[in-house]
Amino acid sequence: MKQLVHKTALPVLLLVLWYAASRFGRISPLILPDPESTIRGLIALVQNGDLALNGYVSLKRSMGGFLLGSFLGVSSGILIGWSHLWEDLLDLLINFVRAIPKTALAPLFIVWFGLGDTSKILLIAFSSYFFTVIPTIEGVKNVDALYVKTARSMGAGEWQILRGVVMPAAMPAIFAGLRLTVTTALIVLVMVEIIAGNDGLGYLLQEARGNLDMATMFATLFALGVLGYCLDAGMQYLGRVLMPWRKGKTLSA
């Protein structure tokens, strides 16, 4: 109960401040809509199906890109972290391309892959790849050499060591990377939907701006927050299922 109070105190305070500011602060609703009209905007979005339709489109793009990019990121990261040959082959290329802000590639991807889903999914995948590959490489490199020695002393082959020792040992680091990647996938998604889209939550924001419909804009932002929060919670849940041995192991606990 006490924990619940601690966890909700700040959000509730912010809501009260928001309400007070829009009600008594003489702030134009074109700058800050009041909570009630935001909720009405949200209800309208739910009722007319805009939220479900655009939310689905956005979820599909972000998850498609995330899954594709992180799959490639994890698998190549394991190879690079494990083998010096692969590291030498790919290190320079990865670090150079990684240095280019992914958003800067949006115009290029649009030229190459068009205005539809393909360019959006590929750009999200591209960015997800780089956010996954680096923690995976680090995770594999930091696997305790004793685990590998132990497995080798029992006669385990390279593939057995990679699958049975390196992958589980690196999994906490990989999962930390995946959690960040989900968040960045949403960033890239919204950006690319704002600059080139006729559907999706990013497009909804852009349209709301055009209509000076601040309630819809706030409602969409809220929906994006819920989406991001749920995806992150889902990743954490998946982490607990896949790494049951980590149960109760946190620094602050």
Partner: protein, 276 residues
């Protein structure tokens, strides 16, 4: 199984530094014996064990098991490290099953093997615990059970009890002796704890550093089964003092009673006690 090391030499030579880690190292352990190597830290004890286990390459010399040279690691030599090295993502049972699994044994065989070894180290009831849920002593027992589960002929132990408190350590030593009696396995035990080496072993090899080599060997002709009261025995204390002076002063001022000395190169495969 009989282990013999002839003229072993290990040189590390890379861009950062080069050093002779082991040189002219001779060692012979008879089948079923329990022998220790004592030496100052940094003398190459761990390197020696890892070479025997096939985890490091040697520069020169031979490792012979029953007269046959070995290079790569294989299931006939198991190694246990000081830091336990248990896989944190596997339960006690799955940790013990790891070796049998790598060797492709069936599920039911793995289960049977892990049950035997869980019992052997007295951890029944903890099969589904994760390593971090166990105490240090228990973790080291799991580590021992995991090594034994691959059914090795030679068990290599690298300061396995060094991280344990005194009481747990003595308990683990006793348990190791029980396991040894039960299995008849050959054990090579590396430690810097002189009492531990004397208490456990048939013979104690003394190792010197720079380069690491076996300098001498002390016969521990004390009756088995060994009891904790042995640690207070005069003979035991004398030998302890001898080894201590070797470790402190180096070989030059080192004198071992000739009756206690046994040749480093000579083969002796008879065990000094009888079981039962």
């Amino acid at each position: 199984m009989d282990l013999e090391i002839r003229d072993l030499r290990k040189v590390i030579d890379n861009r950062k530094h080069s050093a002779v880690v082991l040189d002219d190292l001779q060692l012979r352990i008879g089948s079923g014996a329990l022998v220790s190597i004592v030496g100052p830290s940094g003398c190459g004890k761990t390197t020696l064990l890892e070479i025997i286990a096939g985890l490091q390459a040697k520069t020169h010399g031979d490792i012979l098991i029953d007269g046959v040279p070995v290079e790569k690691s294989s299931a006939n030599r198991a190694i246990v490290f000081q830091q336990y090295a248990l896989f944190p993502w596997l339960t006690v049972q799955k940790n013990i099953e790891y070796g049998p699994k790598v060797r492709g044994l069936s599920r039911s065989d793995r289960k049977r093997i892990s049950r035997i070894h869980v019992e052997m180290v007295g951890l029944s009831g903890f099969e589904s615990h994760y390593p971090h849920e166990l105490s240090g002593g228990m973790q080291q027992r799991v580590s021992l059970a995991r090594a034994l589960a691959i059914d090795p002929d030679i068990l290599l132990l690298d300061e396995p009890f060094a991280a344990l408190d005194a009481q747990t350590k003595e308990k683990c030593q006793q348990e190791l002796l029980d396991v040894w009696e039960e299995t008849g396995i050959t054990i090579l035990f590396v430690t810097h704890d002189i009492c531990e080496a004397l208490f456990l072993s048939d013979r104690v090899f003394l190792m010197a550093a720079n380069p690491g080599t076996i300098r001498d060997c002390i016969e521990v002709d004390m009756e088995r089964p060994r009891r904790n009261s042995l640690r207070l025995d005069t003979n035991f204390r004398t030998k302890e003092a001898q080894i201590r002076s070797f470790l402190n002063d180096g070989a030059s001022e080192f004198e071992i009673d000739q009756r206690d000395r046994c040749p480093v190169r000579l083969a002796r495969s008879t065990r000094l006690h009888s079981i039962g």
